[in-house]
């Protein structure tokens, strides 16, 4: 997946999440809850307003003399309004300035109503007081009248009636406040003013008090009525209704918006569900695809495995064929090796046999036959013959000489046959060694190096003699060692044979071959040095390679097998030559392994 695609997906994810969040916030039911609370507050506000009005009226009709109830509704309303204001002043609830306008209207109305109620309280209190006092004042005046003398009383009858009328008018005025009534009371007051001077002192004071109270009623009653009308005219309830309408309208809008948001949310949810379904389908498809690809892969894998197996089998076959071929080649090589070595030894055998047969041909034993013939001719007079005859007399001496000669002959033959038998033994060794070659068995046995060298020389003795090679022996102090006799012999025979061949073309000086055996640094060194043709520089590295030879009839096997044998004995075979014509020195180096009992 590319980076841009990932970013795109992340963007879509964030977008969907933010839409969801936005819709969630938009669809909050808070508005509805606070609307209910607001409606409730307004309802209680209206209730309190009604209580307030009610208390005003109660005070107006003197049902209540306690003005506390005219104060507490206002406190309650202030408290309620503060709560309502907090809710409704929240931004976003109403169109800007709409709420502020309504609030200002309401507060103005409340302030005005409070002002009027306060004034009403003041005026109503004194008015009620005076009205309540009127009957007492009247009683007081009437009582004073009653205490007057009959003559005075008769004289002041009109005043008493006027006062009474005024009192009644005033009480009536308290109920029905009209201009006419006011005028009548004013008239009555003036009349009382006029009458006052005719009254005795005691009554004058009472009348004055009454007059002042009626004047107060006349002044305060219209004022109180006016205030009541003013209070009534304050559209506080109407304001609250307007606010309710505003709240309702806004709530309806909010509800409509809410519903719209719900529908949007529903649509969005459907959209999300569809996306989910689509994704699920995609996922299922992906799974199917993955499954299909997996099975295809499995099949391909199986096929591949089959092919690999087949190839492996073929390879195995090829390998076994190759191995067969190699084995055969190896067998041929071994055969060549064996035959070469056997050939070398056979040379010695041949020489020995030749020698024996030559000796036998020229044997002195034939003389014995001749002597026996002489004896047989003279068998009848043997004694005579032996004692008398010229020839006969020589016979015993001849026989004696013959016996001696035969004995010498016999000794030579015996030696030669022993040599022959040794060579045959060597052939046997070679064959048995080759038979156990596969296991690379090495037969370690105690060896005396000088004897070993002598054996090797003896095996080549015939050829060396024929080629007039002088062997110079420089055997150092070498202890008895543990070694593989056969391999050592193989190497030494080969090296001696090679040295002999190398000096075949030498005619200008003696053909000297030097055999040397020394121990240097825990290492046995046996060297074969010739003074022959030498080795050219270019051949130095190839000389141990398989199949390399400089001889016409050579097969390039001898030195190779020698080098191998040396390595098999944990040693190595090296050559040194200063160049063609300077001879060569082959050195066999082996780790020194002392035989038991050696220091």
């Amino acid at each position: 997946m590319t980076l841009s695609r990932r970013l795109g997906l992340a963007f879509i994810g964030v977008l969907l999440a933010s839409i969801l969040l936005f819709m969630y916030i938009e669809s909050g039911a808070q508005q509805a809850a606070s609307h209910i609370e607001s409606r409730d507050l307004i309802r209680v506000l209206k209730q309190q307003d009604a209580v307030w009005d009610n208390e005003v009226l109660k005070a107006r009709v003197a049902l209540s003399h306690n003005y506390d109830p005219l104060v507490s509704p206002l406190h309650e309303m202030t408290r309620l309004w503060q709560r309502l204001d907090v809710i409704e002043s929240e931004p976003g609830r109403h169109a800007p300035s709409l709420w502020d306008t309504q609030r200002d209207e309401y507060l103005k109305a409340v302030k005005e109503k409070t002002r009027l109620v306060e004034q009403f309280k003041s005026h109503n209190a004194v008015l009620r007081n005076s009205l309540a006092f009127l009957p007492t004042a009247e009683d007081d005046i009437q009582g004073q009248f009653a205490r007057l003398s009959d003559a005075d009383r008769l004289q002041l009858q009109n005043v008493a009636i006027d006062t009474y009328d005024l009192l009644l008018s005033s009480l009536e005025f308290a109920q029905v406040t009209t201009e006419d009534q006011a005028a009548e009371i004013l008239l009555g007051l003036n009349r009382l003013e006029v009458n006052r001077d005719r009254l005795p002192d005691g009554l004058q004071g009472s009348i004055d008090i009454l007059r002042r109270h009626i004047a107060l009623i006349l002044r305060e009653q219209p004022k109180v009525n006016e205030l009541l009308q003013g209070i009534e005219a304050i559209p506080l309830a109407a304001r609250l209704d307007t606010i309710t309408n505003l709240l309702d309208t806004d709530q309806e809008q909010a509800a409509a918006k809410h519903q719209r948001n719900h529908i949007f949310l529903l649509l969005f949810a459907t959209f999300l569900v569809l996306i989910l379904i689509w994704l699920a389908i995609r996922l299922i498809r992906s799974f199917a695809e993955i499954k299909r690809v997996n099975s295809a892969l499995q099949t391909a894998n199986d096929e591949l495995e089959q092919r690999v197996e087949e190839r492996t089998r073929q390879l195995k076959d090829t390998q076994s064929e190759l191995m067969d071929t190699a084995r055969q080649a190896g067998m041929a090589e071994i055969a060549t090796n064996v035959l070469h070595n056997v050939g070398n030894v056979l040379n010695s055998v041949n020489i020995s046999a030749d020698l024996v047969s030559r000796k036998l041909r020229s044997s002195k034993a034939q003389g014995l036959g001749k002597a026996m013939n002489l004896i047989n001719e003279h068998s009848h007079d043997l004694g005579h013959f032996l004692t008398e005859d010229e020839k006969g007399k020589l016979l015993p001496g001849y026989l004696n000489q013959l016996v001696e000669a035969i004995a010498v002959e016999q000794q030579g033959l015996t030696d030669e046959l022993a040599q022959l038998s040794k060579s045959v033994d060597h052939i046997k060794d070679i064959v048995s060694t080759q038979q156990s070659y596969a296991g690379a068995n090495t037969l370690m046995e105690p060896l005396v190096v000088s004897e070993l060298l002598e054996d090797a020389l003896r095996m080549n003795s015939g050829a060396l003699t024929r080629h007039h090679v002088t062997v110079i022996k420089e055997y150092g102090e070498v202890p008895r060692i543990m070694g593989d006799k056969h391999r050592l012999l193989l190497i030494l025979i080969n090296l001696i044979s090679n040295a002999k061949y190398a000096m075949a073309g030498v005619s200008n000086h003696a053909r000297n071959m030097t055999l040397k055996a020394t121990v240097v640094d825990e290492e046995l060194q046996i060297s074969v040095k010739d003074e022959g043709e030498g080795i050219p520089e270019e051949n130095m590295t190839r000389i141990f390679a398989h199949g390399f030879t400089t001889r016409k009839d050579g097969h390039g096997f001898g030195l190779h097998s020698c080098a191998l044998a040396a390595i098999e004995m944990n040693g190595h075979l090296t050559v040194h030559s200063d160049g063609p014509g300077t001879g060569a020195t082959f050195v066999l180096q082996l780790p020194l392994k002392l035989a038991e009992g050696e220091p």
Binding site: D68, Q119, A125, V126, F133, H213
Partner: protein, 319 residues
């Protein structure tokens, strides 16, 4: 029969309960409410502030300097002395039960104790300070700072100082006056003369203005309904215009908040200028200028005796 028995039993029960607790009287005067349940940390702070002269600009006056709780919550002088040693314009009203007044000050220019505190602190004749100074002084006091941050989430500031003082004043109620006990049903607590006094109080119409839970303090009234008291007294000042100074309404000239009569026997001198040195004198003025009545012989005395029953208790002791 069973139901009759039940009704009888119920009736007896009701009868017993009425006998045990006499019903409160239904009068225009009402007994004091109980002390509101307020945060004691704030109240304690308010008490410290109430007695703290650092509220005045020159550290000379605390609230308690004029509202002396041992003098009925008011001053015994007609005019308390301001921070500058000069007398203020009006007589100091009592702080006791002030929270029950519908407005504060003689002219009722504010309707909450918080605002009342504000007015006094910044008044050039009373404490003469500024809130900046006061808040700084209080905030610089580690004790105050700690107490404030314990009582208020936002620590020392002007509204909190005002609120603490107001809360303390809300606890300054004087319950258990003899008259309250009477209202609560203990009708034997008053002497016959006192009861007569109360009856006169109602008959003459004192009760028209002095009613409710605070026996006044719930309305404005013109001083001089039946005569011009201020002219008769002489030497009128701006303070005599009363509520007019607040509203500018002609109808409000010489209109004052009706003062509470609770503890009135302990808050002499009387009226907004302390022009009445004794209760008798004050009652006489009221008769003449407010009621427009001539009291019968002894009625003033009876009323004064009644007024003396309105003295409540503070910290368990009568004022």
């Amino acid at each position: 029969m069973a139901s009759h028995g039940l009704i009888l039993a119920l009736g007896l029960l009701v009868g017993l309960s009425t006998a045990a607790h006499a019903e409160p009287l239904d009068e225009p005067l009402k007994p004091l409410p109980t002390v509101p349940n307020l945060d004691p940390k704030r109240v304690q702070l308010g008490q410290r502030l109430f007695n703290d002269p650092r509220l005045s600009v020159n550290n000379t006056l605390s609230c308690a300097s004029c509202h002396r709780l041992d003098k009925g919550g008011a001053d015994d002088k007609a005019f308390s002395l301001g921070f500058d040693g000069k007398p203020v314009e009006v007589n100091t009203p009592t702080v006791f039960n002030a929270s029950l007044n519908f407005h504060q000050f003689w002219d009722g220019r504010v309707d909450s104790l918080e605002e009342q505190v504000h007015m006094v602190v910044i008044s050039p004749t009373e404490m003469g300070s500024t809130w900046e100074t006061v808040v700084k002084r209080i905030a610089d006091d580690p004790d105050y700072a700690k107490a404030f941050s314990n009582a208020y989430p936002d620590g020392v500031n002007e509204p909190n100082i005002r609120n603490a003082l107001a809360d303390y004043e809300r606890t300054l109620l004087t319950p258990n006056s003899r008259f309250d006990q009477y209202l609560l049903g203990n009708t034997d607590i008053l002497t016959p003369r006192e009861k007569f006094g109360y009856q006169r109080f109602k008959e003459y119409g004192c009760i028209a203005c002095h009613q409710g839970v605070n026996i006044g303090g719930n309305m404005f009234q013109k001083f001089g309904v039946m005569g011009d008291y201020i002219a008769d007294r002489g030497n009128p000042t701006r303070a005599d215009e009363g509520r007019f100074n607040v509203t500018g309404d002609e109808a409000d000239r010489q209109v004052f908040k009706v003062p509470s009569l609770r503890n009135v026997a302990r808050t002499a001198p009387y009226f907004h200028k302390g022009s009445a040195p004794t209760l008798e004198k004050a009652v006489e003025v009221m008769f003449k200028y407010q009621l427009g009545r001539e009291p019968q012989k002894n009625d003033t005395e009876l009323i004064v005796e009644f007024l003396k029953t309105l003295t409540g208790e503070w910290e368990g002791k009568p004022l």
